[in-house]
């Protein structure tokens, strides 16, 4: 009954007998193909937006348009990066929207216009986001429950808590808070995106980041190499919780108030952004930069539909098509990059 004898043999022969190694440049292209595609999708949507805007208003989008677009996209950018963290480990976090609800309502119900209050509540809310993520993480990593079920159940819990905090839409966000993070006059929000990119760059270079990618690629191999797989898994959900809470603060900041249902859409849109961003649902592949591109592209799609005079009722039809098309394009591009044969 020793486990050594029952372990399946690795077909080492197969991996050495492969086709000749790809050239270095082609390898780099293959590795970054999804990210490249996400960038192409973003710029394609951007070009379409500028074209339709110009056709409609006979001028090019100005500073105000770019700022408002950035501010609208900002919560989704954070939610998408939150989702990315979890998807990289082959998981999924459906509670993103619930954590955003909690964070949004907490901020709107409690924040006062003094600096101390704003700093205190921002930190406290991020901490609460971390705790919410910790709950998900412990249940997934240590109680060994499927992520999709855990986060569906915690989504119901977090939504209930959000309604308890703020029963009907309302509350108030200090104007200094709004002008700091989502200023309507200048694109201060871009600083936050920059900070997120920097954080991702750092994350990729830490032991934690390497571990997350190793775990996503092959959990058994990661475990066999002595990685603390469970702790890594748990921490990924904590990160997702913190980033979702940040997204909730940004929802509060842009809407200058709280609504216990405002965050619900972000569960699905964050998954959509991750998909458009080229992050693999099989884990271990993808970049938060792609998810950020995806979040901006999805936000732009709404504006594109508006300027294309498409009935608002059909919005989700085109968003659904966009989502599927992005993935089909991705898999086609992947096949082409690999030289036609699967």
């Amino acid at each position: 009954m020793s486990s050594v004898n029952t372990a399946p043999e690795t077909p080492a022969v197969l991996s050495t007998g492969r086709a000749p190694m790809l050239s270095r440049r082609r390898h780099a292209l293959l590795q970054n193909a999804p990210l490249l595609l996400a960038a192409i999708i973003l710029f394609g949507t951007l070009a379409l937006y500028v074209f339709l805007y110009h056709r409609e208003l006979d001028k090019f989008p100005g500073a105000f348009d770019w700022t408002s677009l950035t501010n609208t996209a900002l919560p989704l950018v954070f939610a998408a990066v939150a989702q990315t963290m979890v998807v990289l480990t082959r998981g999924i976090d459906l509670s993103v929207g619930g954590i955003i609800d909690v964070s949004n309502t907490l901020a709107a119900a409690n924040m006062r216009p003094s600096v101390g209050s704003m700093v205190f509540w921002t930190c406290l809310i991020l901490l609460i986001g971390a705790l919410a993520g910790l709950l998900n993480g412990v249940l997934v990593a240590y109680a060994r429950l499927p992520p999709i079920l855990v986060t569906l159940a915690t989504l119901a819990i977090f939504q209930g808590i959000a309604v308890r905090i703020l029963e009907s839409p309302g509350g108030h966000i200090p104007s200094t808070y709004t002008s700091t993070f989502t200023n309507t006059q200048r694109p201060s929000g871009l600083l936050l995106v920059g900070a997120l990119v920097l954080l991702w760059w750092l994350f990729r270079r830490t032991r934690f980041g390497v571990g997350v990618f190793a775990l996503g690629n092959d959990e058994h191999a990661a475990l066999a190499n002595g990685l603390p797989v469970r702790r890594l898994k748990m921490l990924v959900y904590v990160m997702s919780g913190v980033l979702s809470a940040a997204a909730g603060l940004l929802v509060a900041s842009t809407t200058t108030g709280g609504d216990a249902n405002a965050g619900n859409i972000y569960t699905l849109t964050s998954i959509a952004a991750v998909v458009v961003g080229g992050i693999s649902f099989m884990g271990g592949r993808g970049s938060a930069i792609g998810a950020i591109f995806g979040a901006f592209a999805l936000t732009l799609v709404t504006s594109v539909l508006f300027f294309a005079h498409i009935d608002r009722l059909y919005t989700s039809f085109y968003q659904g098509l966009f989502l599927i098309a992005a993935v089909v394009l991705g898999s086609l591009a992947g096949r082409l990059a690999r030289g036609g044969n699967r």
């Binding site: 429950l145 819990i157 209930g160 989700s316």
Partner: protein, 327 residues
């Protein structure tokens, strides 16, 4: 492994899959009993019957969901397939009995077509199931809202044909929908346990590659299962609108969570290859009864119910939906 073979307690002789089904049935009965303790009228036949009727809606969607989960897929397009099916039934039947058969066929066809698109996308184009069905949910939502102009179209205000509504009337004591659900359940159990089609589903769920090598047309089977899921979602839409009389927007939304949860609570592995409809049906009953027990507690606020619901589901999952240590 060895403990099971040598185990003294007789119920340990059941394999793990069967044990999960037994647990699901026991949980359903337990929740009923808890409801009965909290409120005595809960165990009366009218109350049980009302719960079973609601459970039949969840049970029908969960049947389709189970088929795709069994091969490691998932169908997130359920909410708007249900909703569009309900509206389709109303706008094609216009509330007339003589058009009912045609309307039901057209509606089931709608579900099959959506399932076909999902299945082809997943099996032949290689789109991940989560993305494909999520996208299709958006597509169906947009089409439904756009075509009905937000449910303000003329034919949208009709009622369900009386012949369908009568399936829920209790003049005979037991509404026809419950017999219908029972027949569906027996048919699915038969297909899963006693046909080669059922064997193929489990085979593909356990290893698509080995099944392919064994000569199973994995892609075609995948398409068929997504079509079944679409059809069962449409069936749920028909049942819902016949029960409620008129469709409304968002009526399918609760069924996504409930169908997945019913499948998993009923012992279906989210990774595919394990589970049976007997457990899923028990899971559907358990969830529905749990919700109605919570709704009976008037001292709980709506928001608290959501919290208690989530905590209870987590508790049940902790009890028996944990994966193996090595996984």
């Amino acid at each position: 492994m060895t403990a099971e073979a040598v185990g003294g307690r007789p119920w340990l002789h059941l394999n793990e899959d069967k044990r999960r089904i037994v647990f699901a049935c026991a949980a359903a009965v337990a929740v009923f009993l808890v409801g009965g303790v909290l409120n005595h009228s809960f165990l009366s036949w009218p109350a049980i019957r009302a719960n079973l009727v609601i459970a039949s809606f969840v049970g029908l969607v969960a049947a389709g969901q189970m088929f795709v989960v069994l091969i490691g897929g998932i169908d997130l397009s359920v909410p708007w397939v249900i909703n569009s099916a309900a509206i389709m039934l109303i706008s094609t039947s216009l509330g007339k009995d003589d058009r009912a058969a045609y309307a039901v066929l057209a509606t089931l066809g709608l579900g099959l077509v959506v399932g076909l698109v999902n299945g082809v996308g997943v099996a032949y184009v290689g789109v991940p199931a989560v993305v494909m069905t999520l996208g299709m949910n958006g597509v169906m939502e947009g089409l439904t809202l756009g075509r009905t102009k937000g449910l303000t179209c003329e034919s949208c205000s009709s009622y369900a044909p009386p012949v369908l509504t009568r399936m829920f009337s209790n003049s005979t004591g037991t509404p026809a929908i419950l017999f219908f659900w029972l027949i569906v359940a027996i048919a699915i159990a038969f297909v899963l346990s006693a046909t080669t089609f059922g064997r193929r589903i489990y085979s593909v769920g356990n290893s698509p590659r080995a099944s392919y090598l064994a000569g199973i047309n994995v892609r075609r089977l995948t398409v068929v299962l997504y079509m079944l899921s679409g059809m069962f979602a449409a069936l749920c839409g028909i049942a819902l609108v016949s029960f409620g009389g008129q469709p409304n927007l968002g009526m399918g939304d609760p069924f996504l969570f409930q169908s997945i949860a019913a499948a998993v609570v009923g012992g279906v592995s989210i990774l595919g290859g394990r589970g049976h409809y007997v457990g899923v049906a028990a899971g559907a009953i358990m969830l529905v009864v749990l919700v109605s027990v919570l709704q009976g507690q008037t001292w709980l606020k709506e928001s608290d119910r959501s919290i208690v619901y989530g905590v209870t589901i987590l508790g049940i999952l902790l009890f028996y939906a944990r994966s193996h240590k090595d996984a």
